[in-house]
Amino acid sequence: MNPWLTFACVLVAGGVGAVARYSLQRALPEKGTGIPRAVLIVNMFGSLLAGATAGAMVDGKLDTAFGVIVITGLCGGLTTFSTFAVETMELFRVDAWKSGYLNILITFVGGVGLATVGFVLTRAVL
């Protein structure tokens, strides 16, 4: 694939991912002291999809350009770290310590776990 076309597709995919994340944030507004659900959901789904796509790219079964569009564009745009960090710090600031720590634990353990599951699954199936 032409590198400029790949780059353009990565940008559009990033924009689509951002709109999907923003839509879920609007659909699931945060209550203040609970775990921020919208960002947790997109981060878990994006990690699973990124892992699954990387697994499909092993041995060139999935085109590299397509993989970059999904992983760097779609998953990168869909998932976010900045909102996770700021929302977690805000939980600590309003003394919602349990929610804050749980959010960190679930995000990191869940994200790495789901990326691994996605990778292993598509690699085994394809």
Partner: protein
């Protein structure tokens, strides 16, 4: 509608910037993902600062918050790359890479956010000390 357009355009810009940082700091699976660490630390600091400044100004339009927060910074920073990078490093036996990727994201990223919030509220404007921003999470 205007908010969604702002998020889409901002998302493309943030993704382009992250793609640029990725190209500047290429790395193999045996090296830590400095590119991802850089975007997440810079982006978390910037978002923290914005929530302490622009966000709490009543005059800031919603589309600007959406475009800059959910759009540019939301897409500039990434979690899937942290998860995937850590997972790949563990699966290939490079545990020291996994510890740096995960540990730096956790410690530096969260510290950058709190530092950004602190700098924003203390040094730029502080209409309500200890302002709670979580209830404005919709626009983040």
């Amino acid at each position: 509608m205007r908010n969604f357009v702002a998020v889409f355009v901002g998302g493309m810009l943030g993704t382009a910037a992250r793609f640029g940082v990725d190209s500047l700091f290429p790395h193999s699976i045996t090296e830590p993902s400095w590119n991802t660490i850089i975007v997440n630390v810079v982006g978390s600091f910037a978002l923290g600062m914005l929530t302490g400044t622009l966000w709490i100004r009543p005059s800031t339009p919603a589309w600007l918050k959406a475009g800059l927060g959910a759009g540019v910074l939301g897409s500039f920073t990434t979690f899937s790359a942290v998860a995937l990078g850590t997972s790949m490093a563990v699966m290939s036996g490079h545990f020291e890479v996994a510890i740096i990727d995960l540990g730096f994201a956790l410690i530096w990223g969260l510290l950058a956010a709190i530092l950004g919030i602190f700098v924003g509220t203390k040094f730029f404007n502080n209409p309500r000390p200890g302002a709670v921003i979580v209830d404005e999470g919709v626009d983040l």
